[in-house]
Symmetry: C2
Subunit: 323 residues, 2 copies
């Protein structure tokens, strides 16, 4: 197989560039044809790679492109992109745009990354707005929820395009031949919903190359009935964050209850393996990052707190998207 | 204390009128001053009360108002209300409107009940639209989420009114003196959100008699930071149903994992009490029904599958709302 290049932003993550570098090496182990290119301050990256070499006790090399500055989360995206042309995000995105790499992985701020990717890499033909997708564990597999926050006030046509983008993603990355697409709504019937959902339903029925199964209610999003769940970016963002928060709250309540008596403490100890498996299922690091869909190249927004495993899986998403 | 009358629809519940009657007697035991009035076919109700008397081995009496017909969930609400003036919903609501009872409890369909209550009982002065509220268990207590589906396309002014209605409800029914109100949004900053959320923020800041703490993100809704979480009816409905569905999915996954090995099965057995407590916390029957807020009298929509305990608590909501 030919070499495959992925551009990687080493700046902006909570754990620093060490985690990103380790994740990139992990991805190389999984995909021998992979050639990651790291963007960040050269001295820093060289030093970290040396440290990593020592840790694994072998000589490790990886291509570095010197990008001395960083766009901070507090900066206004459009301004920052104009001023910081030598930042890791801008240089990495340009690298992808110029055809040197298939995709870009970054732990940078969502807003900056979305603005940069849209301006530098550009939208796919026929796509009005890129969307932020998130793959969530469902009862039986995974559901891609989109848009998770790129477009606050969406038009019906955006939602129809999200359905197409989501279908393509689940086909390529998850290997589902005909992903079932559902429109998030308040009832099963066609005439249900707000003005946006009603118009989107009509459009989705007529959209080609998707397997539209109709409206899905809140309780069905993760019930395993759909592979792609489509909604506006406001609803999607609230839903996504609520799901993350609620899972944590529930697991916390369970823990608290289990530790409340000696007998249940023993029970919890015996059931530890079972809880471990469940925790893994809700571990974002296993899925990778959130893909921006609708751009000319794939861009993965990795979680700010990504460790090496999460970075490895974000890179894997880029690799699999193009296959 | 004076007698307090609550009108109760005995029709429309999945478990039939027996559960409603038992719930009403349970409420009378808790509140000796309570005088429930049952609406439904007289013969049927008399027979069921007789059965109940046998069961508890004492003479049980309750006031009955004969309402021979039922509005089916499949009927178009406005039409049904015009045609079925002798239905349990129409007669019960009229009874409340005419001042014979403080509030109305029904397991009937949300749409029919909302239409009926708005037309017959009427909106409070200054309230443009009634909202459907739901009290959800949070990390530390309870959060009232509204609107859960009465108003699909909401105006900013509705949301400000929902905040006032929610504040009043949590004060009266939950005894919280200054309920913290949060606006559900995609970020903490004032300028975040879709057009509706941005305008609503500005209005909420200026709304009197509420303790507005600002935007809350999805993960904060049930984290115990707010007592009232305000959003449009589309978002609220999707969120509510998602929460119910996700809790079930998570508990199902836990059960599956626990039963997957002998050791964890033993663990689960020992931890059974802890799980029971948790299940109770997520049991809608403990909270009662969903209040329609913004009407001249309180109307509680009880769950279609309500058993006697759930009905008792829905009646309790009516009792406490007026105290």
């Amino acid at each position: 197989m030919d070499k495959l290049t992925i551009a990687i932003d080493t700046m902006g993550g909570d754990l620093g560039c060490a985690a990103v570098i380790e994740g990139a090496f992990m991805a190389m182990e999984q995909f021998p044809f992979l050639e990651p290119v790291l963007f960040g301050p050269e001295d820093l990256l060289t030093a970290e790679i040396k440290k990593y070499s020592k840790k694994v006790n072998k000589t490790s090399v990886m291509k570095i492109v010197h990008a001395p500055t960083v766009i901070e989360p507090s900066e206004q995206p459009t301004l920052a992109f104009r001023r910081k042309k030598d930042s890791s995000i801008v240089m990495g995105l340009k690298y992808v745009k110029d055809g040197h790499a298939r995709g870009f992985v970054s732990t940078g701020s969502t807003g900056a990354l979305l603005t940069g990717a849209t301006v530098i890499i550009g939208r796919k033909k026929g796509i009005e707005r890129p969307a932020l997708g998130t793959v969530l564990p469902s009862k039986t597999g995974y559901t891609l929820l989109l848009d998770c926050g790129a477009n606050m006030d969406s038009k019906p046509s955006y939602l129809a395009q999200f359905a197409q983008l989501g279908t393509e993603y689940m086909q390529k990355v998850m290997g589902i031949s005909s992903p079932r697409v559902g429109l998030i709504n308040v009832g099963a019937e066609e005439e249900k919903g707000n003005a946006l959902a009603k118009e989107a339903y009509t459009l989705l029925k007529e959209t080609s190359d998707i397997n539209f199964i109709g409206n899905i209610e809140g309780r069905e999003i993760l019930a395993g009935d759909v592979d792609v769940a489509v909604c506006d970016g406001f609803t999607g963002n609230v839903l996504l964050k609520h799901t993350e928060g609620f899972a944590k709250i529930m697991l916390g309540m369970i823990k608290e209850q289990l530790l409340s008596s000696t007998i249940s403490k023993i029970g919890a100890l015996l059931a530890k393996g079972a809880f471990g498996k469940l925790k893994k299922r809700f571990d974002y690091r296993e899925v990778g990052g959130a893909p921006f869909l609708g751009l000319n190249h794939i861009v993965i927004k990795a979680h700010g707190s990504s460790d090496a495993l999460a970075i490895k899986n974000a890179i894997r998403q880029c690799v699999e998207y193009g296959q």
